[in-house]
């Protein structure tokens, strides 16, 4: 509606709109469709209004993008951005509340818009991230809960979290109990193996607790729906209702086959929407994941294989194998330290069997679709928001420079602590 209004008032409005522009001479990589060379892009009021217009409408800011390439903004599907500054300094971490079941915790309300991570990550073309309430490093207080809270999908631009918000309940973050009998002994610096029977017992105990909590929450919902008089409000149970109603998925961390199958079984029994997180060693569970169309958030591929004897490319090749099996996935870094490098995780996977287009999709459109905003974000299409990355080359290539980044049409500063320090020390006399 606003667009039609704009067409009427174009001359007066365009000049002042910070989220409207006309970019010419660019090559578009829309992701959802084949690339378009030497074309133009009209963004009006933060949305993509037209592609391929011969000339700029009157009054609109014109950006000459000659020789540049335009992609959708990159989405990192698992970070702690805004909640954690330096993972090893406890005071700077807001992740990992104490207690096992905290579905009522919303990561979004704790986000610090002034975190140094935002400009650093943005400088690599990332426009959007998922911020998880649970910590990856374990330094943010408890961190070992079962339902850790609600993960938020946010834009890396805004004065307040409200301005940054895309979806405050993108998913409920849940850590699934593992049946692991391995532990790390810091004295010998080796992995030690404990009793499997004990591990199994711990697993069963935790599963019983989880099922009990879900049953109680469901009973609460039933009672609430029936308008039971005198029902005492319980924020934890209350927060579970969108999950039960299918309005938000649960994102369960499950790396190995056994945990993955258990998580799938659990989600089916509970009739809740499932996203699998940090899938590393799924084995034959890949077939189940594909068959049941469960989206996955993959962790960084550039890390050591899960076992000493696993092939060196175990992690690199997994995304390709998942794609071949028909699994939809996105990449997440599960920490802040290297959150800016998410595109290179996809790139590494593309060198080991994942088709290039799919690698690009995994950090754009797939992520948007998994997080339920595929109709508004993730590709360059008319009517979608203008989250745009402008580069001088392939964004999966390390040597490519990010020239511009737009979030809902607003051009972002690409300056960060890194560039400030670079500039400062470049000028050092000797």
């Amino acid at each position: 509606m606003r667009t039609s209004l704009l067409l009427l008032l174009a001359t007066t409005l365009f000049a002042n709109e910070k989220d409207s522009f006309f970019m010419k001479g660019v090559t578009l990589f829309p992701v959802a469709s084949p690339k378009v060379e030497n074309t133009t892009l009209l963004v009006v009021d933060g949305k993509i209004a037209d592609i391929g217009l011969k000339s700029a409408p009157k009054g609109v800011r014109v950006i000459d993008g000659k020789g540049l390439q335009v992609y959708p903004g990159i989405i990192n599907s698992a970070t702690n951005i805004g909640l954690s500054e330096i993972s090893s300094i406890r005071e700077t971490n807001d992740t990992g509340e104490l207690g096992d079941f905290n579905p009522q915790l919303r990561a979004i309300v704790a986000i610090n818009p002034e975190t140094e991570h935002i400009p650093v990550v943005r400088a690599n073309g990332i426009s959007t991230v998922i911020t998880l309430p649970g910590g990856g490093g374990g330094f943010g207080g408890g961190g070992a809960g079962i339902i850790m809270g609600q993960a938020a999908l946010i834009h890396l631009d805004g004065y307040t979290y409200e301005e940054m918000e895309i979806n405050r309940t993108a998913a409920y973050q849940m850590r699934f109990p593992t049946m692991s009998s391995r532990s790390f002994d810091f004295d010998t610096f080796q992995t030690t193996r404990g009793s499997f029977a004990d591990a199994k017992r711990r697993f069963d105990t935790q599963m019983a607790e989880i099922n009990k909590f879900f049953a109680e929450a469901r009973a609460y919902m039933t009672a609430k729906n029936a308008k039971t008089p005198g029902l005492k409000v319980n924020v934890r149970y209350e927060a579970m209702i969108p999950l039960f109603e299918g309005k938000a998925p649960v994102m369960i961390t499950a790396s190995k086959k056994r945990e993955i199958l258990a998580a799938i079984q659990f989600a089916e029994a509970q009739k809740i929407k499932l996203i699998l997180a940090d899938v590393r060693d799924p084995g034959s569970a890949v077939e189940d994941i594909a068959k049941k169309k469960i989206p996955c958030i993959l962790g960084p591929v550039t890390q050591l294989p899960p076992e000493a004897d696993a092939p060196y490319d175990f992690n690199y090749a997994l995304p390709g194998q998942l794609h071949k099996a028909g699994v939809k996935f996105a990449f997440g870094s599960f920490a802040n330290q290297f959150a800016r490098n998410i595109a290179f995780e996809a790139a590494s996977a593309s060198a080991y069997g994942l088709p290039y287009e799919e690698a690009l999709k995994a950090i754009t459109l797939n992520a948007a679709e998994i997080w339920g905003v595929g109709d508004k974000y993730g590709s360059i299409e008319k009517g979608k928001y203008a989250d745009l990355l402008v580069t001088n080359g392939d964004p999966l290539e390390v040597k490519t420079d990010v020239k511009m980044l737009f979030i809902q049409g607003r051009q972002q500063s690409l300056e960060s602590k890194h560039t400030r320090l670079y500039d400062k020390y470049r000028l050092r006399p000797n």
Binding site: R193, F196, D309
Partner: protein, 437 residues
């Protein structure tokens, strides 16, 4: 010099009288018509062993017993020299915590190790060289009858906690009084690479290695300073350091090395030390036979072969190198024997003495000749610890320690009939036999 040693000299000088004296008050013991494996001499298919006064008085095909001897019919039996447990904690009442480098078991607990907040080498952390197993062994250790039932007559027992844990003793596994158990009170120093987990130096492997180095440098300096001071009484005294005294006193030192890289490290490191090196552990010794042989190092192979977790995760895929070590560790003794490395066995961390014997069987199955296994557990061990003049073979004049079996040693069907320790016959009791099998 020990009582026992003096006894030997006394017996030697009083040789003509020896045959008639019964110093221990027991009648002479003759085991006759048995197969004899003397070790160090060819086996005798049918012969007799005569024991008088705790010593072997005669061995051979034709031995006549003095009147009044106790006669044991040895038909179908085999007589071996008493088996020696080459490195153990037998006789030490409280089972000393096992060093992880000894048997792949957890390191000593903080409570057990002599922990102090040390600032550096000058505080001599985890260093108790004055601790002597000989002072601590007791006849009441409940494992002693089990060990005898499995065929052991002797053990080399060490204190095992700390970096310089203390000095070991050769003990016989039966005696009326504790003092009589000790054959040789100080046969070596036991070291581990334990870190000071109670806090303080050394808190890392590199710290422990630096500490070993520093301590030996200090010990050499101390020895020289003491010698100079002795010649020049007007010079200031170097002071008495009980930590260094014990280290200098030990005739040899045991260092841990289980994996090949640990063996390599110890071979390099111990070259610098002014002590005779014995390595213990050696599970990956099958890769280092030649190197150990060339270095002239003696070895004590731990009989607790690496094994998987009994109650492990069925989905756990174990690393190839772990599986390989588990598979090949028992071949180490065979490799050492072939390479000409002098070795014996350690039972530290092994569930029971009988399990230790079964572990030797695994080494035999993995290529160790039976005769070499017997030698390693008898004369080999005696030689390593410098007591081969008294123990380790069936020879006239040696201590009468014998292991008598039905069937060859280390076979599944073997039964230990009895052992003789210091000339005294010990029958396994029914429950001990049952427990040991």
């Amino acid at each position: 010099m020990t009582t026992r040693r003096r006894d030997i000299l006394k017996w030697a000088s009083l040789a003509p009288l020896a045959a008639t004296l019964k110093a221990d008050g027991n009648p002479p013991l003759l085991i006759r018509n048995a197969k004899i494996v003397p070790v160090g001499a060819p086996p005798i298919a049918k012969g007799s062993v005569l024991v008088i006064g705790g010593f072997i008085a005669a061995v051979g095909e034709n031995v006549t017993a003095p009147a009044g001897s106790q006669i044991v019919e040895g038909e179908g039996l085999t007589i071996y020299p008493g088996l020696i447990d080459g490195l153990s904690t037998l006789g030490l009442d409280a089972v000393a915590p096992v060093s992880r480098f000894g048997a792949g078991a957890p390191p000593p607990s903080i409570a057990a190790a002599p922990v102090s907040i040390s600032r550096g080498p000058e505080d001599r952390p985890l260093t108790t060289p004055w601790v002597k197993a000989a002072d601590q062994v007791k006849t009441t250790d409940r494992r002693l009858p089990q060990a005898r039932s499995a065929g052991f007559t002797t053990a080399v027992t060490f204190p095992t906690s700390g970096i310089f844990a203390g000095q070991g003793a050769v003990i016989n596994l039966a005696a009326e009084r504790t003092s009589q158990m000790v054959v040789e009170p100080s046969v070596g120093m036991y070291t581990t690479l334990s870190t000071n987990r109670g806090g303080g130096f050394p808190n890392s492997l590199m710290g422990v290695i630096a500490y070993l180095r520093q301590t030996y440098i200090d010990a050499v300096h101390y020895r020289e300073a003491t010698a100079i001071a002795a010649k020049n009484p007007q010079l200031p005294r170097p002071g008495y350091e009980k930590a260094l005294e014990g280290i200098l006193e030990a005739p040899r030192t045991l260092f841990p090395a289980v994996r090949a890289y640990e063996i390599d490290r110890m071979l390099r490191l111990t070259k610098e030390f002014p002590t005779k090196t014995v390595l213990y552990g050696l599970h990956e010794g099958f890769r280092r036979g030649e190197e150990l042989s060339k270095a002239g190092i003696t070895a004590i192979v731990n009989l607790r072969w690496p094994e998987g977790t009994r109650d492990g995760d069925p989905e756990d895929r174990e690393d190839l190198k772990v599986l390989e070590l588990r598979d090949q560790a028992p071949s180490t003794p065979g490799v050492l024997a072939k390479s000409g490395v002098k070795f014996t066995f350690s039972t530290i961390g092994v569930d029971s003495p009988a399990a230790a014997i079964r572990a030797v069987k695994r080494a035999i199955d993995a290529g160790l000749p039976q005769s070499e296994a017997v030698k390693a557990m008898t004369l080999g061990a005696a030689e390593i610890f410098g007591v081969s003049n008294r123990l380790g073979s069936i020879e006239k004049g040696k201590v009468a320690n014998l292991t008598v079996t039905k069937g060859d040693l280390f076979q599944d069907s073997t039964r230990v009939q009895f052992v003789v320790i210091d000339g005294v016959k010990h029958d396994p009791t029914v429950e001990e036999t049952a427990a040991s099998r």
